[in-house]
């Protein structure tokens, strides 16, 4: 089981309290009707599917109830960082450097 730190509760807790919520930092277009079919398809379905550091959303479902963001290595399952929803995307190069 993964251990996940909730940035709101400031506690490291078992995965069973959390639900995964897909890739992070995908903003809904302000004006969807201006989108081409291809662009709309990409927004809905196309994800980066990275091997390595992945920006993703989690929700502390059985806890404070909040959505937050995390950077997790999809190979090792190691969490590089977690941060509150709405906070800027952290610099990946620096995260990787710190993780060394």
């Amino acid at each position: 089981m993964l251990l996940i730190t909730c940035p709101y509760c400031q506690e490291t807790l078992p995965e069973a309290e959390f639900t995964y919520a897909g890739e992070a930092h995908i903003a809904r277009p302000a004006d969807p009707s201006s989108y081409s079919d291809e662009a709309w398809r990409d927004f809905l379905f196309v994800r980066s599917n990275v091997k390595g550091a992945h920006f993703e959303r989690w929700r502390h479902f059985h806890g404070c109830g909040r959505f937050f963001n995390a950077v997790r290595d999809t190979v090792t399952d190691r969490f590089l960082t977690v941060y509150k929803a709405g906070e800027p995307k952290p610099d990946l190069a620096k995260l990787l450097e710190d993780a060394e």
Binding site: M1, Y8, C9, Q10, E11, L13, P14, A16, E17, F61, H62, G63, C64, G65, R66
Partner: protein
């Protein structure tokens, strides 16, 4: 197999050498959602210092002694109180509503609370709780998961806990806890 009745009559559910479970008398349970900026005004209105750290709780004094408030999330609290106090509380909260909009909803009927007590009460909780019970300090509480169901677990003393969950999950949760009591007393 023990069949857990759905009427949840208050009283002892199971008693054993190490741990006992008791269904507590119903209390009024109010769900409160508000912005952090409203906390000082709400504290004044309730006469209780509303905790802002998730998992911390506070109790009232004097006529308010039966009122307990627990911080569940950054903008969410649960208030436990006596049914006689509800009128006073809602009137006080109504008075600050204009300046501090909030949601205060009576969810008393939604949940059942049991007390789990005895030398092995903490051991019993490990049966369905995927975290270390002692990571919740005495005097605090957490919303968490117990064998798949959302619950709030209150750490009251070294040997006593309260667990409250939604009533539809309680036959499952209590069935598991009763079985656990038997296992612990068989040691």
């Amino acid at each position: 197999m023990t069949v857990i009745p759905f009427d949840f009559r208050p009283g002892t559910l199971v008693e054993s050498a190490g741990v006992s479970i008791r269904i507590l008398m119903p209390k009024t349970r109010l769900s409160l959602r508000a912005r952090t900026a409203a906390v000082p005004a709400i504290s004044r209105a309730l006469g209780v210092a509303v905790p802002e750290k998730i998992g911390q709780r506070a109790s009232g004094e004097g006529a308010n002694a039966e009122t307990e408030i627990l911080c569940l999330g950054p903008d969410e609290w649960v208030l436990l109180t006596d049914v006689e106090q509800v009128g006073t509380i809602t009137a006080a909260m109504d008075a600050i509503y204009k300046e501090h909009p909030h949601s205060l909803v009576d969810v008393s009927d939604r949940e059942i609370t049991v007390e789990i007590f005895g030398d092995k009460a903490t051991d019993l909780l490990t049966l369905g709780w995927p975290r270390n019970p002692l990571s919740v300090p005495i005097g605090e509480a957490r919303r968490t998961v117990f064998d798949g169901a959302s619950v709030v677990i209150w750490h009251d003393s070294e040997t006593s806990w309260r667990l409250n969950g939604w009533r539809s999950f309680m036959p499952h949760l209590l069935g598991l806890l009763v079985t656990g009591c038997r296992e612990l007393s068989a040691e």
